[in-house]
Amino acid sequence: MDLEQLWQLTLGEMEVQLSRANFATWLKGSRLVDKKDGVFLVGVSNNFAKEWVENKYQKVLLGIIRGFDDSAKKLEFVVDHRTSVADPTLKKITSADVRTFGNQMDLDFKVDPETNLNPRYSAATFVVGASNELAYTAASAIVQEPGTKYNPFFVYGGVGLGKTHLIQMIGNEIKTFHKGKIRPRYVSSEKFTSDIVWAIRNKRMEDIKKRYRDVDVLIIDDIQFIGGKEKTEEEFFHTFNALYEHSKQIIISSDRPPSSIPTLEERLRSRFEGGLIADIGYPEYEMRVAIIKGKLQEHKRSLKDSVIELIARRVKKNIRELEGVLNKILFYQDAKYIDIDEKTAEEIIEKSVQNFSRRVSDDHILKSVAEFYHLSVDDLLTRGRKKEVVEPRQVAMYFLRDILDMSYPYIGEKLGRDHTTAIHAVEKVNQEINKNSALNQKINIMRELIYKN
């Protein structure tokens, strides 16, 4: 009998002997931590529980445990921090607070003021899989010889898939690999823009030029946001050229490839396309499992394998969301003092994921898809087999299935088709996504469109 079973049986007997209130107050969340030479170590939730259980229940507990395991000689008690409960009533800091109280300080980590890099984004915590292998390999090569091979290095991919992690990691690794001889600098395109605006207002353009051109590796996050801001684009263009001419490494991230940033100036686009463009796709199942396991290890926690697999199966599209669901499950485990089983996990996932998709209606999906392809919803619904509408129609069916989990007959009916057509369409798109990166990219953008509105 393992410790967990033994303790469950013991608690079962205690529960009968104690009042509900006493049981809940003092023994909820307790566990058998260890057993050694007949000494059983019991972990309880706080110091008061320790004092109480030690003084009042010790004999009874020992008696019960002996009934199951006659090697038991003695009980010892510890306060087990694993069981301490987070408080769900705590305040969430919202963007409104930031407007009222000021910005938040960056308390998380010592963001290096020289490089702006956050040491949290390290190579050790980056999980590599088929979806980001190319980007990762290129990144590793850049770390060793920045500025020579892949310059500029352009990474794109959907929300929450690890772009920022990857590009900050390059900066951090360069710093350690070259022992500070090569100076990277990370900047979000928002910060870049606000610096330019500040410089124009205060007539301090020279300062800014110096700040951004006097580095060896410039890392710019979310470049799509500078699209359409003329002065910023121009300044970035010059900075880009100045660095590029001196063989300084430039690393750029975006949520889409350069060709899909409509407001980006042509000369910038062609610059971006001159280097290596790598995409980060959705993590496949094994990678999601590895990410969850890594997170658990980081938090020194554990979950049943079946639960880990369940989370990995159900949350596919966003690593941040994956972490969110995982945190929720861990929190639930703390708050309820139970080990999460698949059923409970399923419920938690259901709640978080449903919340997400409940806002989306089938008509909204059709509208978004039609919009993306510059068609009308009626075009999707006509019986024609024109090439221009075949792909949009199949994609629409795919989304109806993927996001809303609709039945095939319903999907068929919605688009005036047979249910077998719907099945075929969804399968086709599912296959194509893995082969056809252009389609994959379109799907990602459409998905964001659907959720955004």
Binding site: K50, E51, L90, I93, R99, T100, N103
Partner: protein, 370 residues
Amino acid sequence: MKLVVIKSHLKDAIGIVSGASAENANLPVLKNILIEAKGGKITLAATNLELALEYTILGKVLEPGRATIPAGMLAGIINNLQTERLNLEEKNNSLDIKTDNYHAALQGISADEFPLIPKVKNPKGALVIKASFLRDALAQVVFAAQPSELRPELGSVLFVYTIDSLKLVATDSFRLAEKTIPKQEFSSTQKEEFRILVPLKTAQELIRAFRDDEDVTISHDESQISFSTQTISLVSRLLDGRFPDYEAIIPKKFSGEISVPKEEFISAIKLSGALGTRAGEIKIAIHENKKSIIISCVEQGVGENTYALPARVHGEIHEASFNWRYLLDGARAIAGEEAWIGIVDDNKPALLKAPNNGGYFYVVMPILKA
């Protein structure tokens, strides 16, 4: 249990320990105060299972024993009694309170249900500090603490003990306060440096409970801390978690440095804040003549005001916007007549302190311009 006690003593004790009592659906005894009479001493205690307060008073113990009575009810009675001497007697979990012309029989809960209050085990030495000093130091930082969902560890005051000082730090990520108590102000048998998180509620109770100027002995183990004087003992759990490495965000170089008379500065902040704008945003700007600062507040549909405050200014002309309450908190916490404000730029933290430092500073984030 049977005892005679002076009312004012009992009143003090109830006032202090009831801060630790709590409503708890599982354990109703937590809203009660435990009265325990033993060997000429009467101890009152209350706990919410996070912290426990005990207060010992003198009185005449006729029969030792224990009783627990709901804190609110007990306070209501004792605070309103006029008589100096009270007779208390416990019979079958009920407490009789008698004076010459008053009698109450109060239903309590068996004292056996009351939690056992844990003790700090094997502390590695202790710090001894004057109660008034500890209280004032805590009051200078505690208002800056505020836990959030993502950062429960900010619901605490960080105690950092090193060979030459004890530092108290609190932050809610919008502002941060740090008080340094130099080693001359306390005595120590503590052998190891430490860095522990004392829960916010515990810090607040400390400020409330330690009123006299007795010496407070502070000791701790891995999971608990105790603060005790001759009469009061407070035991609390320590907060789990890692306090942020806040040192990195303390600004060290400033582009504008301002010295102002503190009281006037406080009035100016209140004046500007009086507009009651939605965001509570006020702007501090250095006047071009560098002889004053302009504190102003503008809200569309409400109005605007400007206050010019004579000041000594060094450095560039700069302006930054802050939440006026946060600024006020910091200005009030500074000791002395003068306030010193260092501004870096409009999106980096600003620093407030007394010009001669005084072991205290306050860092506050500006409100970023939209």
